[in-house]
């Protein structure tokens, strides 16, 4: 069985009369990139703060690498790197000075510091900023500096709150490359983001939260299964009337002169039969291909379903 890096059980967090997390449970498997999705105010930042030990839950249990966040905060802090959604940097220091101070704070030996700093700078591609003061940085540069700081002590778990927010497409590609590299090195990454297309591309697992409740925690395929997603099939022809397969269970969702989109479950045998039927009626079939729904569509559907249940 795969080991959990983070386990949250029945977490509760209140701010005055507002309940940010209610009976929230989830887990993040070690060595994975896990996406954390939810609308604004759903409880993502509160959860990340609890996991990072910066905030205590009012109730429930949260364990990071098996250690309780209440009892072993100091040990956990040494094993995590945290990048909040917004933060400020000391503009009068250079990146190298900034990282050197944090390396010292994390008790990295003087003889190791230069190497660690160089590694963090290379990983985050901040070479051009290394000896520059941290003022007038773009959002992307600021995020990379924050990541370099979060990585300086070589943490086992990286917690990233909206790391892609405000990044240009090139910077987002670089961020994804970095996260993949960290996963290859055995690190666990737990990141929240609203850019679901990016998460779909790099994540192994998902935690979906809505109004303080985790409504899904597991791998992406499991999420799709839970959403009972049916595949959308597109038939493209050179012309001719496209009809549905004989015993089709599903519905036509789009139709044009040369194509038809059908949503339903089709086994390979059923697909083969459908193509034969069309060909036997003189329809020149170019392609029958699955059109996958995006994570964004699945997420919207999940939230809608929850809202319907609540209503």
């Amino acid at each position: 069985m795969s080991e959990a890096a983070i386990v949250g059980e029945n977490l509760l967090k209140r701010y005055g009369n507002v309940t940010a997390l209610r009976d929230t449970s989830f887990s993040v498997t070690k060595g994975t990139i896990t996406g954390f999705i939810g609308r604004n105010g759903a409880g993502k930042t509160s959860t990340l703060k609890i996991v990072s030990t910066l905030m205590r839950p009012d109730d429930g249990v949260c364990r990071v690498f098996g250690l309780d966040v209440r009892e072993h905060a100091y040990e956990i802090r040494r094993r995590i790197g945290f990048l909040p959604d917004s933060f400020e940097l000391p503009w009068s220091l250079t990146l190298r000075e900034y990282l050197d101070i944090f390396a010292d704070l994390y008790d990295i030996r003087r003889s190791d510091r230069a190497r660690r700093i160089d590694t963090a700078i290379q990983l985050t591609r901040t070479e051009d900023l290394a000896d520059r003061r941290l003022n007038a940085l773009s959002r992307g540069e600021q995020q990379r500096v924050g990541l370099a700081r979060a990585l300086i002590h070589n943490p086992d778990l990286l917690l990233l709150d909206e790391p892609a927010a405000g990044l240009d497409p090139h910077a987002r590609v670089e961020l994804k490359e970095l996260l993949r590299l960290l996963r290859e090195r055995g690190k666990t990454v737990f990141l929240s983001s609203h850019v679901l297309a990016d998460l779909e591309e790099i994540c192994d697992e998902l935690v979906v939260i809505k109004a303080g409740n985790v409504i899904f925690s597991g791998d992406i395929a499991g999420f799709r299964r839970q959403m009972r997603s049916t595949t959308r099939w597109r038939v493209t022809t050179l012309g001719g009337q496209i009809t549905l397969p004989g015993n089709a269970s599903g519905e036509v969702v789009a139709r044009s002169a040369n194509s038809l989109d059908f949503e339903g479950d089709l086994s390979p045998a059923e697909r083969a039969r459908w193509i034969s039927e069309l060909v036997s009626r003189g329809v020149s079939v170019c392609e029958v291909s699955p059109q996958r729904t995006t994570l964004e569509q699945e997420f919207a559907k999940a939230v809608e379903e929850e809202e319907e249940v609540e209503a």
């Binding site: 990072s52 030990t53 205590r56 802090r77 933060f87 400020e88 000391p90 009068s92 220091l93």
Partner: protein, 217 residues
């Protein structure tokens, strides 16, 4: 804690407010003396050693100036303890320190920073006074009291920034620093110093607890 002190000194030196803390007492106290000296030179009656007034001897001027200077240095210490991590507290980037170091290390670093700034400021201003009046302005005992006062005001400044990082908190910092400095300087009983040490410990423990509360360990 050394790393935090290094950060504090480097940042405050680059952003220039360290120099403001170190030189403010000297500027406030020595500028009247220098103005008087400039006037006497203009009148063609230059005088050395200098005094604030012709009716006061340079030795008395040094003594009086010394006590005011040490009180001002305590204010600088309080301001240093309050101001050094004020921005980090306000924008919550103090969390980065708290992820890497224990809360008491952050609180102590701010207190030590303010104390060092206050003590250095008092040495600068006393050296200036000594040079202008040709008399060392404070005895060893007075200087010791001033150091304890700087430590106490700095610890109080640190405590106040953990309560609120609003700039208006400088008012209680200055008010409290004046009370502490004047109480210690004018104390007649030897019990004042141990009482100040107890206050310093209380301030330091309270700031650590407040930081811990904001970011529990």
């Amino acid at each position: 804690m050394i790393a935090l002190l290094r950060y504090a000194i480097l940042r405050s030196a680059r952003e220039k407010f360290l120099f403001a803390l170190l030189l403010a007492p000297s500027v406030m106290l020595l500028s009247p003396l220098l103005a008087i000296a400039a006037l006497s030179v203009a009148k063609g009656q230059p005088a050395y050693p200098m005094s604030f007034d012709a009716r006061i001897s340079p030795a008395a001027a040094a003594r009086m100036g010394g006590e005011i200077a040490l009180a001002m240095a305590s204010l600088a210490a309080g301001a240093g303890g309050f101001w050094i991590f004020r921005r980090e507290m306000a924008n919550r980037s103090v969390s980065f320190f708290l992820l890497a170091a224990r809360p008491q290390a952050v609180a102590f670093a701010a207190t030590i920073y303010g104390f060092l700034a206050g003590t250095t400021a008092s040495l600068i201003v006393m050296s200036g006074l000594a040079a202008l009046t040709h008399h060392w302005p404070a005895s060893g005992r007075v200087f010791l009291v001033a150091m304890v006062s700087s430590l106490a005001t700095s610890a109080m400044g640190t405590l106040l920034v953990t309560i609120s990082s609003d700039e208006s908190m400088l008012l209680p910092v200055f008010g409290g620093s004046c009370v502490i400095a004047v109480s210690l300087m004018s104390a007649k009983t030897p019990a004042a110093l141990p009482a100040a040490v107890v206050a310093i410990l209380l301030f330091a423990v309270s700031s650590s607890l407040l930081l811990r509360w904001r970011c529990p360990v």
